[in-house]
Amino acid sequence: MSLREALESGRFAVTSEVGPPKGTDVSQMLDTAEKLRGHVDALNVTDNQAAVMRLCTLAACVHLAQKGHEPVLQVTCRDRNRLSIQSDLLGAASFGITNVLALTGDHVIMGDHPQAKAVFDLESVQLLEVVGALNNGTDMAGNDLSGTPEFFVGAVVTPDAHPIEPQLAKFEKKVRAGANYFQTQAVYDSESFLGFMETARSFDAKVLAGIVVLRSAGMARFMNKNIPGITVPDAIIAELASAQDPVAVGIEIAVRFINDVRDSCDGVHIMAVGAEHLVPRVLDAAGLWEVPS
């Protein structure tokens, strides 16, 4: 069952992600993917994540697809103009890669080539419309395509953004621009997330809750301070600070969150952020280890 089929049939979906290497050795990325085989519906492949130059997403997706995994091609607007984005999308479709996640992308200033020219010819909302046009058989300029892709396109939303109103307005635009589903920035406060889900439901939007497993109180504080749109509540930081085994407690926190929200959202997207080995442990503890085929 594909990610599209899972979400369209209403089955709780599980996705995770892998990052392409800085270099040509894809073995570690493929090892990570292998450990998740059969346990996730799809694997996001990041696109020069955090504006750090890496092996290209499309090539990484092809490697994964050749091994029988289902990739989600993350597409940012930072590094490519509208010609390049459309041609990469067509290239992906030609390899049978049809899951796309439309992102604006972190600014080049944040990454390892801060001197680069940032592109942003398009941004996430416009990119969603471009994907819609390609699905309808034309490019942005209205020219007919020979061979039409069938993309299933996702977008991101930050439920804990502050202020939230402009973020929710952009969320609404993404729905109108044709997003088939959303995955969220990491969320920790289930009550606040359930509040967001009420808004999302009013737009009939499918939402995967973003999960990042906390490994220490220090990591939680670091994320609060440095990652936009992430708020780890003080009670959770205290729980981690007093833990004998903070990683085990971090997994418990993630599982508790998943259990609190699983009846109200459409799935989870688990981001490993450098601890890929924890993803199976979370899935197992949350009773999500077996993905129905």
Binding site: C77, R78, R82, L103, T104, D106, H107, I109, M110, A118, F120, D121, L122, E123, S124, V125, Q126, E129, M140, V156, T158, A161, H162, P163, E165, P166, Q167, A169, K170, E172, K173, R176, A177, Q185, P228, G229
Partner: protein, 217 residues
């Protein structure tokens, strides 16, 4: 106005030490207001350059003058550059370029042109306009997202916004400001209109503009 800033003296020295007699030409409009190319700054720059070049044991003579505006031919006609073998222009890039096209000696820039901006206080300016050729301020409550959003995006704040600040950490999020001002005017609905990708061909083709051709006298 065009906001400009003086280049480091060392960079300017590298241009002028090849010459014998250099004329510094200020610009009494934007560059003077930006405290970078008015009469005072021309005099001060000449002094600085005399000092800097004498230390390097090179013998360059510096004189200074100021034009009303360097970006208009009629003011350039007033310039007497006879006897100089180089000119140091203390104007924006447009001034440097026009001056360079009107004399037969090398013209060097003494300033860096930063942006089209507005005064924020004494000797402080903020970029407000990117000269994109298709003003969007009518739908963004007078705040330019192309200029004030680090990504220049057109449909609302990106995921990097945090507490109303840009992910670069050096400015407010333009899209939060736009949202708040539209809300204040009861125009929140307009925020939901999807802005189509910008037509950059207009800007690409805007290399000249002749008001007469547009029927403007």
């Amino acid at each position: 106005m065009i906001v400009v800033r003086q280049k480091p003296v060392d960079e300017i020295c590298a241009f002028v030490t090849r010459h014998r007699r250099v004329l510094l030409v200020g610009c009494n409009t934007c560059a003077a207001v930006a405290l970078a190319g008015g009469e005072k700054e021309v005099d001060l720059m000449a002094e600085l350059l005399r000092l800097a070049t004498s230390r390097k044991a090179s013998f360059v003579e510096f004189s200074g003058t100021v034009l009303t505006r360097q970006c208009e031919p009629e003011f350039l006609e007033q310039l007497d550059s006879e006897g100089y073998d180089a000119i140091l222009s203390m104007a924006c890039g447009a001034g440097v370029a026009l001056l360079a096209s009107s004399v037969d000696v090398p013209v060097y820039p003494a300033l860096d042109t930063l942006f089209i901006g507005a005064a924020q206080g004494l000797a402080s300016w903020e970029a407000e306009c990117s000269a994109c050729g298709q003003c969007v301020l009518g739908r963004t409550a007078g705040i330019c997202p192309i200029t004030r959003c680090a990504k220049g995006i057109l449909n609302g704040p990106c995921g990097g916004m945090s507490d109303g600040r840009c992910e670069l950490g050096d400015r407010d999020c333009a899209w939060v400001l736009i949202f708040q001002r539209l809300e204040k005017f009861g125009r929140s609905e307009e925020f939901l209109e999807i802005a189509e990708p910008k037509d950059h061909s207009l800007r690409t083709r805007l290399v000249t503009w002749d008001a007469h051709e547009d029927g403007i006298r």
